[in-house]
């Protein structure tokens, strides 16, 4: 029997697409100043930005988990009027240009903002142009990724397991923590990874809402952008580092969580 060949009309664009995705990464590796790399990596500014990026992305992801998983549960398990609308609203930050998101955050959490003014006068909390502001900006942009992944996992999970748990005496909260959450753990992990990766790369909302202060709000993507204007080599080194960190963490989590799903 003759093996069916894949049609060229599909093969050619597929390979071109692959090339298009890989080529920039190759270019980055090609232009990397490998000889001066060790000394450049240990420059204090770089490590500060890296540490800030990892910290804010991780805290933002944790915040998204705490708020996003219950929201995903609500969307997947409870039918309430306007659920479709809520689901649509949740995905808005996904399609919103991040800069617009940053402006919107300023209007709400800024010193003269709807909630910001009250936060400032009551608790003395100021979010814009602080590290906390970076976290808020990243969480705002990244949370839809988590919610969509977790809601999908919840919809895919058999709700009758929850009924079985109820017949064994488990209330809704216990059922959620002991049955539902473990069942969708791979989906939650996948969503958290996506969310974290998105937060790590966040640029537009962060620079708009939190500014670009080294050591305080200057995350890796901001540092890359700034370096590009003054020192191309530094920009390349920073980019390479960001690429490396993302790939390593994604790969390790993938082995541990996602593939076991």
């Amino acid at each position: 029997m003759r093996r069916r060949r894949a049609p060229l009309a599909l093969i050619v664009p597929a390979l071109l697409g692959l090339l298009f995705l890989i080529l920039p990464l190759v270019g980055l590796l090609y232009r990397t100043p490998w000889t001066t790399l060790p000394s450049r990596l240990t420059e204090p500014g770089i490590l500060t930005a890296l540490r800030l990026s990892l910290l804010t992305a991780t805290v933002a992801t944790l915040g998204c988990l705490v708020l996003g998983v219950p929201l995903a549960w609500l969307l997947a398990r409870v039918s309430f009027p306007g659920r479709r609308l809520v689901r649509a609203l949740v995905t808005v930050p996904l399609v919103l240009p991040p800069v617009v998101g940053g402006v919107a955050l300023l209007l709400v959490f800024g010193r003269r903002g709807l909630i910001g003014e009250w936060l400032d006068s009551t608790f003395g909390i100021t979010l814009p142009f602080t590290t906390a502001g970076v976290i808020v900006a990243e969480a705002f942009v990244a949370m839809p990724f988590l919610i969509i992944a977790v809601e999908g996992a919840l919809r895919g999970a058999d709700a009758r397991y929850e009924e079985a748990a109820a017949t064994l005496g488990a209330g809704r909260w216990t059922t959620f923590t002991r049955v539902t959450l473990p069942l969708v753990a791979p989906g939650v992990a996948a969503g958290a990874v996506l969310c974290w990766a998105r937060a790590l790369g966040e640029f537009g909302a962060t620079i708009t809402f939190a500014g670009n202060f080294p050591g305080k709000t200057q995350t890796m993507p901001l540092a890359v952008y700034l370096a590009l204007e003054t020192d191309l080599q530094a920009a390349i080194v920073l980019s390479l580092l960001l690429l490396f960190v993302s790939v390593v963490i994604l790969a390790s989590l993938r082995d541990k969580w996602i593939s076991s799903a």
């Binding site: 009924e163 079985a164 109820a166 017949t167 064994l168 005496g169 488990a170 209330g171 069942l183």
Partner: protein
């Protein structure tokens, strides 16, 4: 004997209405039998509190669990009711042991004691060495036993079994049925077995309730139901030919031009039942003793155990079991005209 469970279950869903009254004594096993879509599973879910009642009540022991018109409602997790689901629904992320310990844990038993109890239950169902296995590493029969142990571990006053053997292959079903019978006999509470398999019902249950289209059509012990079916569904289940007609003068008029002679004394509306093996088939009109004779057309022939089951059409539809040699002699083919005969002494007639 006072009933442990007394439930009138009314569930109205527009196109479908369930209205059944179930009573089960402590230690008794009641089988709820019916065709697909009769409302068996709905009744079970209503008892467990997984489906809201439209009206009626659920009383278990001294406690009123559910009575919509008095706004009494007990959520599923607070009902002393254990459920074995048709596809078991063992939690895939927990070991067999932790699945069984799940119930006791939720009832406030501390972790170590719950696991000890669970190990005890697994030993009772003969799965002590499978405690650490995940559900996906268990066979169908083993999963069924874990599900039973998990439901029993909470010491439910009412145990619900939804088609407990339906997911098993024939061989496993045989062993598991015997096993299940033993555990049900030891269960001190009431048991409701939902099934569409008459054999499960006859072997496992003390009493049968047959429902069709959401309503009870017949109930009683196995002997009563099998001897005197009251609907076509029940007759088919127990393998009898069943007809309804008007009885007078030692005969029941079951169709235009056909009155079956019976030996039971009945009058008015009555049922007549007889076994397919009681029907004899002749190519010529038989002479002499059999009094109930009618002309029929062969609709089809199928293997049935060691014999052949012949479907007959005519004034009445009937099934006849004949031996392969007899069939060969008659040279039966579909569409063939034959004579069917049943002795009056082989019939069973009873009031409708």
């Amino acid at each position: 004997m006072t009933d442990l469970l007394d439930a009138r279950l009314v569930v109205d869903r527009g196109t479908f209405r369930l209205d059944v009254h179930l009573r089960i004594a402590a230690g008794e096993v009641l089988a709820l039998l019916g065709p697909n879509g009769a409302g068996k599973t709905t009744a079970m879910r209503a008892l467990a509190g997984l489906e809201p009642l439209t009206a009626g009540h659920v009383r278990l022991g001294e406690r009123e669990l559910d009575r919509p018109d008095a706004r009494v409602w007990t959520p599923t997790e607070r009902r002393p009711i254990g459920v074995v689901f048709q596809d078991y629904l063992l939690f895939p992320h927990l070991s067999a042991l932790d699945n069984v310990a799940f119930g006791p844990r939720r009832h406030g038993v501390d972790k170590r004691k719950a696991r000890a109890e669970a190990a005890d239950w697994l030993a009772r169902v003969g799965l002590a060495e499978f405690a650490k296995r995940k559900p996906r590493q268990l066979s169908g029969g083993q999963a069924q036993r874990v599900a039973l142990a998990r439901a029993l571990a909470t010491h439910p006053e009412l145990l619900l079994l939804d088609e407990p053997l339906a997911a098993l292959d024939a061989r496993t079903r045989l062993d598991t049925r015997v096993e299940l019978q033993r555990h049900l006999a030891e269960h001190p509470g009431a048991t409701l077995l939902v099934t569409h398999d008459p054999l499960d019902a006859l072997v496992l249950a003390d009493r049968l309730v047959v429902i069709e289209h959401g309503a009870v059509v017949q109930e009683g012990d196995a002997a009563a139901v099998t001897a005197r079916p009251r609907t076509d569904y029940v007759a088919r289940l127990v393998g009898l030919n069943l007809y309804r007609g008007h009885a007078a003068d030692g005969g029941v008029r079951v169709a235009d031009g056909l009155t079956l002679a019976v030996t039971d004394r009945v009058s008015g509306e009555a049922f007549v039942a007889f076994r397919p093996s009681a029907v004899a088939i002749f190519s010529e009109r038989p002479e002499g003793s059999p009094r109930n004779v009618w002309q029929a057309t062969v609709a089809g022939v199928q293997r049935h155990g060691d014999n052949l089951r012949v479907g007959l059409q005519g004034p009445i539809e009937a099934a006849a079991d004949i031996t392969p040699p007899a069939a060969a002699e008659l040279g039966l083919t579909a569409g063939q005209r034959v004579w069917a005969a049943v002795k009056a002494t082989e019939t069973n007639a009873y009031p409708a």
